[in-house]
């Protein structure tokens, strides 16, 4: 059905996962896909570079059209398969406006999560400062409170009472936070959202294989 599409992906990468959820929601199973290993540096392989010259995953192709930006792929699929599977962008203007807001706003969540989770990876040893770690953690806490509030005001999804493009884009990042040890007690609405969608078919079918039976991470336990 989706034999003209190819996805090279890495397990646990929120951008890769977004595309996989979108493909499931649009009933586009059966695409060519290959799981690559970040640890082995396979995201820098010739195979990836030919599609994504940045040497990053995802690398995605639909026929001869290449889009590697995960949100771009989601928009592309929704536009191409508007009437197939889940309608990810509603016709209603109010809903559409809120969804567009959250889809782009997720960048702030990604940036603030990364600056905490990847601090030691991004900052060489001689440049690390406890004051920076503290500031990054405070920024993430403030950011998470905003999203906790958004979920408080909605009905089980990021926007309103239906699964939309906002969930496709935001859910993998929320799951990522809990995978890295975010407290379910301190962020009850985020936890409810995380657990509430865990068994949705599109999400279950694309759950990162390396997360299954993985030991609990503690990176975010004090956030």
């Amino acid at each position: 059905m989706a034999k003209d599409m190819t996805l090279l992906w890495g397990s646990g990468s929120p951008p890769c996962w977004r595309i996989m959820i979108a493909l499931e929601e649009k009933n586009l199973q059966g695409y060519n896909q290959k799981l690559l290993s970040f640890e082995k540096g396979e995201h820098k392989s010739k195979e990836v570079m030919e599609i994504n010259p940045r040497g990053q995953l995802p690398a995605f192709k639909c026929g001869d059209k290449i889009i590697n930006e995960s949100c771009g792929v989601c928009f592309f699929l929704e536009c191409k398969y508007k009437t197939q599977g889940t309608k990810l962008i509603p016709d209603c203007e109010v809903g559409r406006a809120q969804i567009l807001q959250r889809v782009f706003e997720v960048n702030a969540l990604v940036e603030k999560s990364s600056s905490v989770i990847y601090y030691n990876w991004m900052v060489p040893e001689g440049e690390r400062h406890d004051s920076a770690v503290k500031r990054n953690k405070e920024a993430l806490t403030a950011e998470l409170k905003l999203w906790e509030g958004y979920l408080q005001a909605s009905s089980g999804f990021i926007v309103g009472k239906d699964f939309t493009l906002a969930d496709v884009v935001v859910y993998p990042n929320v799951a990522y936070l809990f995978h890295y040890g975010l407290s379910e007690q301190r962020y009850p609405k985020l936890a409810e959202y995380y657990k509430g969608l865990m068994n949705r078919p599109s999400i279950k079918a694309s759950w990162p294989p390396t997360w299954k039976n993985a030991p609990k991470q503690e990176t975010l336990k004090d956030i």
Copy 2:
């Protein structure tokens, strides 16, 4: 004509400028707008916070629909006024795929520009390192070479030979780089793009007022 829209903006902010260009391209002049001063902290005013609780500009409203993410606003306007003014997203799938790729890929350019331009603003004095400054500059140089290559392969616009959503989103960031002293000699395709679109009516009409007759900045002169 666009009396139901309100834009609170700051001069020189690429996200604010994107919305203004999109509004011009879609023939949506006559919206309510107010220029606020970052220097005076007006982006943290009650007036802004009521629309954008992050206390950031732009703050944008269309009727009772609020979208503050600039790219979200551009998608919203293109969708609402599909047949009015410039067609910003083509029906052609090849073009659409390329445009979506660049619209989201611009985040890498923004992030790498900001880490150089705002280093002293973002990093407290005691945490600054020459090695970090050098690394950030190298990352920006590598990023700029990618965009130089994209322009080499296109025909005067970010994608192909027409002005699209990719230009609405990317142009303000390119102009920003040159405002901060990027070398026109070292980045000739970016410079050609910058100067080539400077007099396009939508861009000319929305040119940042504080940039007119401003002294030349030198922050990026050695990039």
